[in-house]
Symmetry: C2
Subunit: 321 residues, 2 copies
């Protein structure tokens, strides 16, 4: 099957790119997008490589989901309304089983969030998936990393650490009973980007970031850009019952440096607590208050006895791990 047949069969959905912001999509040199008058565009790109961002054992359908999910998570972190995405895909060969599954998972999630595949590229090469997502927000409402101020609350959505726990089981360093493993494997392979929550937090949260490389590292980026620090209590970090049953050291590793969580960590003034909880409720997303922003730079995490953890909290770095 040639490149153009492949695009036609798996990635073209006639009529679906008409209307809305996309007036011309796949089939021209560029997609033509009409902005919502007065709004700003929020754009992000994430590249996924086999063995680094996903295991070769992952089902193509789940991979299609995850490739878009990690990108939607960046839109969520900025409070963007998803509009269009561009997929570039390098594959060793045009494997139809792979393509059927991959595109099904991709479009399922795209439809759930009302985002349209507007263009991209396909080529032969080592498996590599790049997606560029575009969303919109009213001017000045995008959530950035730089707005946190001392005295504000630190919040996180959902639960942390399950994806890392699943990865450790895949690596053979831990083991779990079958049912527990399937539960954490879902967190790793089918992350649910917090797109609705991000939009609901526009005008409420002062800063936000998604947890892709681990809470400590990602919150660290937010603190640095905001020129502040934070104190968290380990006991307040939300975790699944599976992770909560693991030894304390494993919980700590997975909660703080896990990565692949795709939850939102964000800050908001103390007097906005009711509005934050409302945003969580109205979007069906659990939200938890996990700490406080402080003037002193750096991230301080206290254990159950109130003692500061002295470990160096590193986030995942693609060129050092």
């Amino acid at each position: 099957m040639g490149e153009f047949d492949l695009i036609a069969r798996y990635f073209t959905r006639p009529g679906r790119t008409e209307g809305g912001v996309v007036t011309h999509g796949i089939g021209d040199d560029c997609a033509v997008l009409t902005p919502t008058p007065g709004w700003q565009w929020l754009v992000s790109a994430d590249m996924l490589v086999e063995g680094r961002h996903f295991l070769s054992t992952v089902a193509p359908r789940r991979l299609g989901h995850k490739a878009l999910a990690v990108n939607l998570s960046d839109l969520a972190a900025c409070g963007a309304t998803p509009r269009a995405f561009f997929l570039s895909l390098a594959m060793p060969s045009a494997n139809e089983d792979f393509l059927a599954g991959f595109s099904a998972g991709l479009f399922e999630l795209a439809d759930a969030h009302g985002i349209v595949l507007a263009g991209g590229d396909t080529t032969a090469g080592p498996l590599n998936i790049n997606i560029t997502v575009m969303g919109e927000a009213p001017p000045g409402t995008a959530l950035l990393r730089s707005g946190a101020r001392a005295g504000e609350d630190v919040w996180v959505s959902g639960t942390l650490g399950d994806a890392r726990l699943a990865l450790e089981v895949f690596r053979g360093s831990l083991s779990l009973p079958g049912e527990a493993f399937e539960a954490v494997r879902l967190a790793m392979e089918l992350p649910q980007p917090r797109v609705a929550l991000g939009q609901a937090l526009r005008g409420i949260a002062t800063a936000a970031i998604d947890v892709s490389d681990g809470l400590a590292g990602d919150l660290g980026h937010l603190l640095k850009r905001s020129n502040v620090g934070a104190e968290l209590h380990l006991a307040d970090l939300p975790r699944s019952s599976v992770l909560g049953a693991m030894p304390e050291a494993v919980q700590q590793l997975c909660l703080l440096t896990g990565g692949d969580d795709y939850e939102l960590v964000f800050t908001a003034p103390a007097d906005a607590r009711a509005r934050v909880l409302d945003a969580g409720r109205s979007t069906g997303t659990p939200v938890y208050r996990i700490g406080r922003i402080e003037e002193a730079a750096g991230l301080r995490v206290r254990d159950g006895h109130g003692r500061l953890l002295d470990q160096t909290l590193q986030s995942f770095d693609h060129f050092q791990s």
Copy 2:
């Protein structure tokens, strides 16, 4: 060197992402872009893989140029004004020589066309470069592939075939004297996207496409989308003196199926000839009239004796070559 140091050293240029359409760039989950009021966005993505889109022998500086050039060429084909681009880069290791050269070539071309690197991704993996470009145009003025009508002229910019000629020398199937080889190698490694011409053709050209996979194939896409055909004369196709000195069969191959030309092929009504020539002159771009649009589907090319070429004119397909 870690991922974040690498981005800071080679891909962050403080202050350059402020102002213009980009209000926040590298360092947040998304870039924030403010559209020109009332204009549309034109977006395209191209992925480059070693051994397929470039040879391992190419200098990193030229590769940085080419990776952006092929994307700017898509904006040119749509008549877009370049605004912002997103770079995703997978590399086996963080090689500083490579990064210094690559980023220098990339930014040199970006500055020449006033386009800003607004975000992206870096990761470890087999060498893979994906760029998503975003440009703008007043509503309804984007050049598409679908607007050609019978009776219109077919035009092309610059010269065709040199990049393919260089590739054949690299492959060892042809040889050229040193100076001639360097000239065609420039065409292959440092293509100049016709961005200014594309913008000048807004409101004049009725359809356009850039020649990336070969004139026959790319013009074929335009004809198909416009539901028309065309007749060209081989003798009218513009070529360099180096290609013009090669055997007739080589010229034909390189001109019609060469690929990697990044010239624009476009259509315009016969009464717009003076305006097309003006657009070429005002942007310093040679433009040549090479044929005519006809109602009958398909592409017909006549040789110097007026005979129709009977070869099947195939364009480059990444999964069949």
